[in-house]
Symmetry: C2
Subunit: 199 residues, 2 copies
């Protein structure tokens, strides 16, 4: 027996999504097949609208409905700070903490020679242009704490050095609620190096 063509097509398309394999795709496709037409239409419309209604902020490349995103348009945000992140999803993570009130800049990835991502493929020039305008006092580099994130962080740091800004990056150390016994050597090492005086 051959799987009906429209089902096979749906399985193929669904399994292209990240972390969805052939088996999960089959399960999702059969679930959709059994769902009400209304539910499937809602899903299809929501996915289509993603591409038609959402754009990237002209200023910081965050996800936005308008030309400028809700962060850049918010008059209450501190316009002297920019937090540089790899992806727009990182902004959501940082916003959830309610600890940061400045602006953002999305790089759209990290420097990665292996996957062919050079500085030209990232929004690094646009960051420099924002800094050149002069009102920025601090840049917080919030790339991921892995090799590529650290490399990108260093690259941006060197690029921004001539502007005489405060350039910081997120603290490395023990995660809150963590346990020394289960932390890896590199993390404990960084936590020792970055120890903070109790006041």
């Amino acid at each position: 027996m051959q799987i009906a063509e429209p089902l096979q097509l749906a399985i193929d398309e669904l399994s292209k999504l990240p972390s969805i394999g052939k088996k999960s795709a089959l399960r999702l496709a059969l679930h959709l097949l059994k769902s009400d037409k209304e539910n499937v239409d809602n899903l299809v419309n929501a996915i289509s609208d993603l591409k038609t209604k959402i754009q990237f902020c002209k200023n910081c490349f965050n996800i936005s409905v308008d030309d400028l995103c809700s962060v850049c348009e918010n008059p209450k945000r501190d316009r002297s700070m920019i937090c540089v992140v790899e992806e727009a999803s990182d902004i959501i993570s940082i916003e959830k903490t309610n600890e940061y009130r400045g602006l953002y800049h999305v790089l759209g990835g990290v420097l990665s020679p292996l996957s062919g991502k050079s500085a030209d493929n990232l929004n690094i020039n646009e960051l420099v242009k924002r800094v050149e305008k002069g009102s920025i006092k601090e840049i917080i580099i919030a790339t991921n704490p892995d090799t590529e994130g650290e490399t990108t962080s260093l690259y941006i740091f060197k690029l921004l050095k001539p502007f005489n800004l405060k350039v910081t990056r997120l603290a490395r150390g023990l995660p809150i609620g963590g346990d020394l016994e289960f932390a890896d050597d590199a993390t404990i090492g960084r936590a020792v190096l970055g120890r903070i005086e109790l006041l």
Copy 2:
């Protein structure tokens, strides 16, 4: 910051799918946002086509593009046997084995008083009608080997008893490649009860 409305909507709809939570839905939505329009269109069309181009076989309730599914229409299939399964996906699993050449019948679930599924909600009457036509010699009940599957199996067995058919069900025993040490008591017990003489 609020998440842009179209993105939030896509997250909500995606997280309604089985085994996809809010975090996976966010990841999928951001992936779709970064994908080419063509890829997203392909996915959207494939999902829409599921509901418009696929129907259920009038004979056995398998997934089908036409009135009759590819199994029911295939002249090479043995028309004296029906394998009764819970869901259309089970047909795909059995077909992959290449061990069965008869017809199928999809129940569309199992008897489950807790989730409000009674015999009237399943395609059991349609199975009896197929048997009444007279050409069927064997019914293989291939419901899942769990409590609800066993109950449904027993219910169908009693219903088909008057027709004087051979009614069988899939063998229970040790899975191929398994290890006695790791098999559960119930499986080993069934394997002992269902032991087969070596010839």
